[in-house]
Amino acid sequence: MLVTLREGIAWESSLAPVTSAGTYSGTLTAPDTEHQFFSAPDYQRRDRELAWLDTRNAAAVVEVSVEVNDVWNAAALRPVMQGPQVGHIDLSAQDVSAGGMLSRVVHVRNASLPIEALDVDRDLAGRDVLIYETLARAVQLFTAPPLTTSGAPASQVTAWSYAEGTAAQSDINTALPLDRDLFKTPDMNLADRDNQMAGYAAQLCQVLKNPFAFADRLYVAVYGVDSREVEVYTLVAPRFEPGLTYLEGDEVVYQGVIYRVKPGVGSTSDVPWTSPWAWEVVANPRKRVWTCEPALPGRNRFVYDTENQTIQWFRDIATVQHVPQLVALSVPGIFSGQTLQVVPKVPERKDGQFWRNKAAHVIPEGTALVDLYSLPTVAAAVQRGFLIQSDAASLTVPSQGSVYFPDPLTLAHPQTVPAGSYRVSALVEPNSTVELAGGENDQGVTGILGGATLSGFGQLSYSIGLPPTRWTVEIDYTNLSGSASGFRLVAALAGATVFNDIAPFYFNDVNGNPLPNGTIVTSAAFPILPSGGAQSFSLTWTGGTGQLHIRAIRFKSSAFAQGHYRISGTMAGQISTVDVVGSDRVPGVMGWEFNLPVASPNDLVLNYEADPQLPIRFLRMDLAREEANAATPNSQGFENYRQDCLQRAVRSAKQSFDEAYYSGTAAGTFLSPQNVSTAYSSGTTALSYGTWDSDATDRWMSLIEAAEPRLRQIDDIPSDAIVPGRQYYVASGTATYEGSNYVPGQYFSGNQDTTYSWAVAGQVNQVGAWQKAKATHNGRPGLVPVGVYFDYSTGTLATAYTPDQTTPELATIQPWMIEAGFYAAQPEFWLPVNV
């Protein structure tokens, strides 16, 4: 049966079936058949309603055609509509016949009564439903089908009847002779309209049955082994590239002509037009090729063989070939357990983690620092010789300190690192203030919040070395029990009294009334002159009532605005030296490099050799290994690819910020950006304005995270903190989530269950494109909030913009950004810095 498709469907005299109230009825007009009364208008209206059903079918075809176009990016047939219509038909059982549902139409004959025309109408209506239902079922392959079922049963019809379809618009009319053609001619016209729609539907079903023959774009995912996120492959024409060897059957486009290597040739590298004995011109390529980024030569391709109807995948690594598979939307991949899935949906926005995965496909030449161990704080437990201040370990005068990097999972020590080149980077901050927690005394007296609570009159002493210049001392103290209006204290440095107890440390208000217990009071500053070496600073409680609690002791000096530091590091006998000048309260990064000839413990000894000017705080330390990259073969020309991916990851973060703040799930839960005088809050989330710190960074990131679940890496996720939509990586152990076990190296996504359990205890990390910046990341790209800056005059962080303006921006990580807790791009985005 051959149906010539016309470009559109005429509206003709279509009329919607409506109730007496004028609303859509969903059923055809039913003429009065009980009283043998022939009402031509009712019969006429019924035919017009059938024509209207045809327009609904046409609209359904258009819906499917648009979806095919959107999903496959392929031009699909669609009829021209002459008016707006809804692409949906509901089954109305009384209006259809079983024959019609099987595509059969029996027209009226000369001997027929008018009432028999109603049966023909039911045949035609059944056929309309059949066409619609066929299309509706075919489009169910789409992730979001554009049509829903009519409710009709599945039809097994494989052949369409022609039903004497003839285009001749005509309506039943009392002015015409009451004969067979009065009814048959309009019905034949309706059958013709059905034939047109059946033709369109059949064409679309062919596209849906094998999209590879039509698609200009595929959306492909790889599941199982070496999994790949779903991504876009676009149709390309393979160009002839001089120097490459082509095998029999290979096809290229050269100067606008398609050439194929002839059978029996074996292989050739000849330029096509110069070598007719090796190449033949073909009208249509046998292979359709789609490629995805990075389109490395000969790789990242999906190939459909139109003759054998097979598909073959070429991934970015060319070590193992994929055996061509018979065409289907889901086929086996290269390895056992690997599946290639063509996802029939419109590509969605990709997040930063997607671009991180893409960036990893091109490894540049050069070397890279691979992070191994980190000390986010140089805690008391991992060091020796440092002065532990309230918020950091420090070297206050030339002296020696040592640290080690424990296993992040087991905290085991010592940790042995294999032979190789290593770099230790430290985030440091020269600071003219040295603050000791009260509890860091030699007597071991402790108390709440790191302070020291004395049970009675007694002495606390602190070992400290300060540069030999003028310093002042302040003491934070309070009363914890009983009533007290002051404490008599004697302060001594190296045994010599520097503050006597003639006047008490007051603990009362301006009216002389005792302050509420627990109120922290800062004493007036008194001067000291240290020797430059280790000395003992003591506080002796000699008089007063209550219970004295020393929270902190603060030493300050304004003698030096800058300090010179020569600090040598030793690891396994290898020595490396830093020699720099630092400014007061300005963070910086120091580095030591070691080339270890044999496997060695990672213990590091720092020898602060000079000069005794400004004490220096060590805020964090990171150990990384320098490794040569195993560069991706034949990736010349792709040097910029990682940066391209990085830019896209930043763009995604920007869009996520906008969505979260203005239109996403978190939108509207923040106070008006214009209301700058109040806190910006959303439940427990408050964005910062005016000042900034690492907590503000985390709140800012969590805002963006509301719209981009795979934004940032967070290590060691507790077992009850799984968030839907976020992705997790098993670093060690075996995690069980929603009934499945995941071993190291495997990922799972947060779904309904917010908890996971351990089959074998280990660590689960949250996956993301950005990670909290380490000292080794200085100079690397990072994600920063616009308007946040470091005030070098005060040594503080500030933000100049209101929270709604703190959009994410790509910026190079500077030392103060590491202290601010900004996030750096994952190493997959990095390029070698020097070339």
């Binding site: 963070p587 120091m590 490099e593």
Partner: protein
């Protein structure tokens, strides 16, 4: 709208970083550029080449002050600590070393940024040449 500028910034200044062949004494540094970046501006440095042209002290094995900074280095920094510089180009031998222009240094935080080239040797004088440029979008 031009293809040469972004929607965020309507203009940019392209400023040179240049130092003709210069003797750089041991343990010394030279500040060869200063850029004041205001709020809302953006600095990009994609091009920076450090050429250690000659070693001027012969017969001496170079002793490094800071083991991570090579014979000589150039960097962009707002503080005084040379090892904290971003866009750091270091070389361990005579010749040219270049910042990887595919991943430019980007600075959006306001501040005064200096370009400093320094001789990291305690016992060797060097002859160095610097070429490069920064762009400030505003």
């Amino acid at each position: 709208m031009s293809y040469l500028t972004t929607t965020d910034y309507s203009r940019f200044l392209s400023l040179p970083i240049a130092l003709p062949e210069t003797e750089l004494r041991r343990q010394c540094y030279l500040q060869i550029g200063t850029f004041s970046l205001a709020l809302g501006q953006r600095l990009e440095m994609a091009c920076c080449n450090l050429h250690v042209y000659k070693v001027l002290t012969f017969g001496v094995s170079p002793a490094l002050l800071d083991d991570t900074l090579g014979l000589a280095s150039i960097g962009l920094l707002a503080s005084t600590m040379l090892s904290s510089a971003v866009g750091l180009v270091s070389t361990n031998a005579v010749g040219v070393m270049t910042w990887n222009q595919d991943q430019p240094v980007v600075i959006t935080a306001p501040g005064i940024y200096r370009v400093v080239v320094f001789n990291n040797c305690s016992n060797v004088d060097l002859s160095v040449i610097v070429t490069g440029s920064v762009r400030i979008f505003y």
